[in-house]
């Protein structure tokens, strides 16, 4: 039913990705703006402040916002060129409905009526939960909150989940277990005063570029930097200690370090006795994790492990940062807890220059995971199965306990259930699972089985190509609201321009569907993002993620407010856990033992090479936006295989050669990029591309048992050199586009040195 209605090549001609190269009217046009709109970048969890130049209802450029305290004007290339996602030839400006001949533009009423009919039909025929909803955490807090309420009360389905499930959810689970709250423990300024900075599984330079400056400012004051990563990332290049460990062995390393911290008596017993529980079991767990044991599992020299433990142990202040590298694993939660144990053991949290944080990846990775957007969660980061929590939300929402569904399936599990025929209908927004979920072909099969699929998006993403109805949504700069940055700072997204054509903000679309489904009483009062935010404030009140004291006005006055902020006169909380107060009922943090186990897939004779995937600085997530911006595509047009020259030589592979990479799920052919900056037993592929170029054709649907995050970062493959004519056609197409992006710009030198 939901196979793509035309060939992929035809769809690409019609809906892109095409490239937007220059501001409207070209570089020579008069671009003197009518106004500058202070807002934030949409392209990662750091949420850098930026001013958009607006002229005649078009965004024509940007001006750095040097007063915003987090980034002080700094931006990565995605931020610099983010304005080019507007005025885009691929932009959807009217509703699309699938016909025999492809997508047809239809009027809003027809698309809406059909959508509502199909939702009602499927739910009547197969039950409420047979219609699922998938959402994303690039949405504002308001939309995240609305998505949670819309699924539960509008659709009445329990099956709502979000792509944060592919992001930092392991960190969320780990943080809640250890601290009783899920937020970066510190504002980033605490990085600057730290003696030692431990960065693990985080390619800070490419995925959180602005954080680089915080780390360097610390290093200017003498801080030591330890980077744990199978690849020598740009930040690792100059680090004081680099630990290029085997993929999937992170927990072995943290266990080994905890072992040494205990052995060498670097434990802060005073802090531990006063503010934590469970240290004994955690230490017992690592009793046998000697440096030799750690070395065998991680592939790191004993001396390096000992040096790391000593640097960490001897420091008087420290900051530990981690990201997807340790979280995207079948033991992501344990990896996170291993890091937390290192932090708690040394007592370096909850005071100045001492901290711990996960670096969220998606635009609203922090805020999007707090407001009931997850299958097991209610607003205020409440638990959907906790009777008291349910009772409070039922009061706020004015519904009965029976009307409020219980816990549903997680993102990958929803896709599995679609594949199994248990879920028949899907509404999705802000999510491109065909690129971002593991095992791409499985996802494609699943999408093809849907009876009805409605997608809200501003571009026709690869997943939207499988939809029956596509409703044109608004871009980030065409709507307002709030997001919460990786630091836990709630900030304002301001509207710069009106959406074009029939496009409208996601919240308006969801509210309209809910009203047409006869749920007026729960959604009728949502007439603006601020109206939604005001209900969110009440709904979050008393939860751990308490936004009650935050208002739009207060955010603008203070350049952001850190939650928890329980009352209007509360200044917000940049640093959590001050005075050793944690969020568990006993006020203490918990040590949780992390027992070692291998990844779900381990190299063997058949698939002898580790594969790890990740991001590049020029692309954002599934690339729906960034693969349409000329400059970014010019810098990194397509994926490639990073491979150590030694491994390459063993297979006769040279720079640029076609390499076939095969896993138990599938295969793809990519050009080789020979670099000595990766472990010789590991290869790396960036994941931002669809179809034949999708790294996720190789990854497995192995999930962490607690967080249900897929194990993107550890797979096993075999590689073989192949003929260059086996490169996918899409690769040549992308190379052509990148070339045109260069030459279409104002003259470039004939001779490129």
């Amino acid at each position: 039913m939901s196979a793509t209605p035309k060939s992929l090549a035809e769809l690409r001609d019609l809906y892109g990705p095409h490239l937007n190269l220059a501001p409207p009217g070209g570089w020579d046009a008069d671009l003197e703006p009518d106004k500058l709109v202070k807002t934030h970048c949409c392209f990662c969890g750091q949420q850098c402040g930026i001013q958009l130049k607006v002229k005649d209802n078009h965004v024509v450029g940007f001006e750095p916002w040097t007063d915003f305290p987090f980034n002080e004007g700094k931006l990565c290339p995605k931020g610099v060129k983010r304005y080019l996602q507007g005025n885009h030839p691929d932009r959807l400006t009217s509703a699309l409905m699938r016909t025999e001949h492809g997508f047809a533009e239809v009027d809003w009423e027809a698309a809406m009526a059909h959508t509502v009919n199909e939702i009602e039909r499927i739910q009547a025929q197969y039950g409420k939960d047979a219609f699922a909803m998938l959402s994303g955490v690039s949405l504002t807090n308001e939309k995240s909150y609305l998505a949670g309420k819309f699924a539960r009360l509008g659709l009445g389905t329990k099956n709502l989940d979000y792509n944060g499930r592919l992001c930092m959810v392991s960190a969320g689970v780990g943080n809640k277990k250890a601290f009783g709250v899920d937020r970066a423990a510190n504002a980033w300024v605490d990085i600057v005063g730290a003696d030692v900075i431990w960065v693990t599984g985080a390619n800070v330079a490419e995925c959180a570029p602005i954080t680089t400056d915080y780390i360097w400012r610390a290093r200017d004051q003498g801080a030591k930097l330890i980077v744990v990563d199978p690849r020598i990332t740009p930040l690792a290049r100059t680090a004081d200690l680099v630990l290029p460990l085997k993929p999937g062995s992170d927990c072995a390393l943290t266990n080994g370090v905890l072992h040494l911290l205990h052995k060498w008596d670097f434990i802060d017993w005073k802090f531990i006795n006063a503010h934590t529980t469970g240290i004994e079991a955690a230490i017992e767990e690592v009793r046998d994790c000697t440096p030799e044991w750690t070395s065998r599992l991680t592939g790191l020299p004993v001396a390096a492990i000992e040096k790391a433990a000593r640097m960490w142990g001897e420091a008087s202040t420290s900051f530990l940062l981690h990201a997807r590298g340790i979280e995207h694993q079948s033991k992501g939660v344990e990896n996170v807890l291993g890091c937390i144990n290192m932090v708690l053991a040394t007592g370096r949290i909850g005071r100045p220059n001492c901290g711990y944080a996960t670096i969220t990846g998606q635009g609203n990775g922090q805020g999007g995971r707090e407001h009931g957007h997850k299958c097991d969660q209610l607003p205020g980061n409440r638990d959907i199965e906790n009777p008291e929590h349910r009772k409070y939300i039922c009061e706020v929402w004015n519904c009965t306990d029976e009307e409020l569904p219980h816990k549903g399936l997680t993102a990958q599990e929803i896709m599995n259930a679609i594949h199994a025929g248990e879920i028949k209908g899907l509404l999705s927004l802000c999510f491109n699972p065909l690129v971002s979920l593991p095992d791409t072909e499985f996802t494609r099969e699943a999408l093809n089985k849907l009876e009805f699929y409605v997608n809200l998006d501003f571009f026709l993403s690869e997943t939207a190509q499988h939809a029956d109805v596509v409703l044109p949504a608004a871009l980030h700069e065409e709507d307002e609201g709030t997001t919460t940055s990786t630091e836990g700072r709630v900030i304002r997204i301001n509207k710069a321009v009106e959406p074009p054509g029939d496009a409208r903000p996601d919240w308006e679309i969801l509210v309209e569907i809910a009203q047409r489904l006869g749920k007026e009483k729960w959604f009728g009062h949502f007439t603006s993002p601020e109206a939604i935010f005001n209900e969110l404030r009440v709904a979050s009140k008393g939860g751990t993620a308490d936004y009650f004291g935050i208002t739009y006005q207060k955010i603008e006055q203070n350049m952001g407010v850190f939650w928890p902020c329980p009352s209007l006169d509360h200044p917000g909380t940049p640093r959590l856990f001050e005075g050793g107060k944690f969020f568990h009922p006993d006020g203490k943090a918990k040590f949780i033992p992390t027992s070692w186990r291998p990844p779900m897939e381990v190299v063997d004779d058949e698939f002898p090479v580790w594969l790890t995937t990740g991001r590049v600085v020029f692309q954002y997530l599934s690339g729906t936006q960034t693969r349409r911006i000329g400059f970014l595509v010019e810098q990194c047009p397509h994926p490639y295989l990073e491979i150590h020259p030694r491994l390459a030589a063993a297979h006769g592979i040279e720079e640029g050669d076609a390499v076939e990479i095969t896993s138990r799920r599938g295969a793809l052919v990519l050009p080789a990029r020979l670099v000595k900056t990766i472990r010789p037993d590991t290869v790396f592929i960036p994941y931002h591309w669809p179809g034949e170029l999708s790294a996720n054709r190789l990854t497995a649907r192995h999930l962490d048992p607690l967080s249900k995050i897929p194990e993107f970062k550890v797979s096993c493959v075999r590689i073989a050199k192949t003929a260059k004519d086996r490169f996918p056609a899409e690769l040549a197409e992308l190379q052509r586009m990148a070339f045109e992006a260069r030459t279409d710009q104002a003259d470039l030198p004939e001779q490129v040195f």
């Binding site: 020579d28 008069d30 671009l31 003197e32 020598i232 690792a236 290049r237 100059t238 680090a239 200690l241 680099v242 290029p244 085997k246 999937g248 062995s249 046998d288 030799e292 044991w293 065998r296 599992l297 592939g299 790191l300 020299p301 001396a303 390096a304 027992s595 070692w596 186990r597 291998p598 990844p599 381990v602 190299v603 063997d604 004779d605 002898p608 090479v609 030694r646 491994l647 063993a650 472990r679 010789p680 037993d681 003259d747 001779q751 040195f753």
Partner: protein, 372 residues
């Protein structure tokens, strides 16, 4: 000599400028039949033109004597002196059509700039092509003695036929300067509009270099047009005053030629020489960067630049007997700076220097167990 040195003038360019001016005077004398065809009403213009010629020539010869300019000028002279000049000249004509007349390269800088510039340039060229010959007495229009309705055109003192006053040719002959003036005025207005919108130009433009020349051209063109307006619409009212005003603006423009932006009219033909220099270099081949091996610098330019460095006192910019800084491509020069900084910091380029990368045989299965 003390007079020259107090003016800070160079004797050699001065001589050459004097010679150039003498040549022009000779050509005027010859073309105007020893002054017989000179129009006394245009005497002011004539003197200003001769003076401007001297100024422009002096500046031109001073410019050519700069070591860097001489490098190209000498090359062009050699080329012009060789017998191959016969093949060269037609090519040069074509190039001049593109670069001097059509100015397509300006279009590639900015299409708006090209539009404004082309109108100004063509307007000026058209105006100059009529006014200078008129002033120099090389052409002259006079009413045909036999037929009052016809005009007689004289070229270098030779009659070259006549045309009716009320014909298209007549209209053209009388109004060609108005047309030129209109082109220049439109071009200048467009230029001002563009400069008012362009953040970059607003920051870098200078009144004396970029704005004043436009104002001068505008003044010349507007006073010129006003002459026609006075004659046709106002029955000649204020014609005399306007004529003086026009003459004043033109003389000002001519006298400013050597000093301001308009000097580029004299410089621009050098671009033709550079084109041929580059072509000769391509024929000779490019040399490889001595660091990365990529071909980059044309052999003739490499040679000439080294000689130029010597003349400029930059000869110590070499790394060894065999490696001049000119032997590095621009990219390697850029890498060199970071390399130099890195070596000051010591070892920062090799993060593995402290820890060897462990290499397991890649086909060896790794077993992961929680107990050793």
């Amino acid at each position: 000599m003390s007079f020259f040195s107090s003016l800070d003038l160079e004797p050699r360019p001065l001589l050459r400028a004097a010679l150039t001016t003498a040549l022009l005077c000779g050509a005027i004398a010859l073309g105007s039949r020893a002054g017989r065809w000179l129009d006394p009403a245009l005497l002011g213009y004539l003197l200003a033109s001769v003076f401007a010629c001297f100024g422009v020539a002096y500046r031109y010869w001073t410019w050519v004597e700069r070591p860097a300019t001489w490098m190209y000028f000498r090359d062009l002279l050699k080329r012009l002196a060789s017998p191959r000049v016969i093949i060269l000249l037609p090519k040069m004509g074509l190039l001049a059509l593109d670069q001097i007349f059509l100015q397509r390269f300006i279009g590639r800088r900015s299409i708006k700039r090209w539009g404004a510039h082309a109108l100004i340039a063509w307007g000026c060229l058209l105006g100059f092509s009529v006014t200078f010959p008129l002033v120099f007495g090389w052409i002259r229009f006079a009413s045909d003695g036999l037929n009052q309705d016809r005009y007689q055109a004289w070229l270098f003192g030779f009659g070259t036929g006549s045309f009716p006053v009320h014909s298209f040719a007549g209209f053209l002959a009388f109004h060609v300067l108005d047309l030129a003036a209109l082109m220049v005025i439109t071009g200048c207005v467009l230029a001002f509009i563009r400069r008012g919108q362009d953040e970059g130009d607003m920051a870098t433009q200078r009144f004396d270099l970029d704005i004043l020349p436009l104002l001068v051209l505008l003044a010349v063109s507007i006073t010129g047009i006003l002459l026609t307006v006075s004659e046709k619409a106002l029955q000649g009212r204020n014609f005399g005053t306007l004529a003086y005003l026009h003459e004043l603006t033109v003389i000002l423009m001519l006298l400013s030629l050597p000093f301001g932006k308009l000097f580029h009219i004299a410089q621009r033909p050098a671009q033709l020489g550079v084109t041929f220099y580059k072509a000769a270099g391509e024929a000779e081949g490019r040399l490889a960067c001595k660091a990365c091996g990529s071909l980059f610098i044309r052999a003739n330019q490499r040679r000439d630049l080294e000689a130029l460095f010597l003349k400029l006192g930059l000869e110590t910019a070499r790394h060894s007997e065999s490696v001049h800084h000119l032997d590095l491509c621009p990219k390697c020069k850029r890498r060199l700076l970071a390399k130099a900084q890195g070596s000051r910091l010591g070892g920062a380029f090799d993060p593995f220097s402290g820890i060897p990368v462990p290499v397991d045989p890649i086909t060896d299965p790794q077993t992961f167990r929680s107990q050793p």
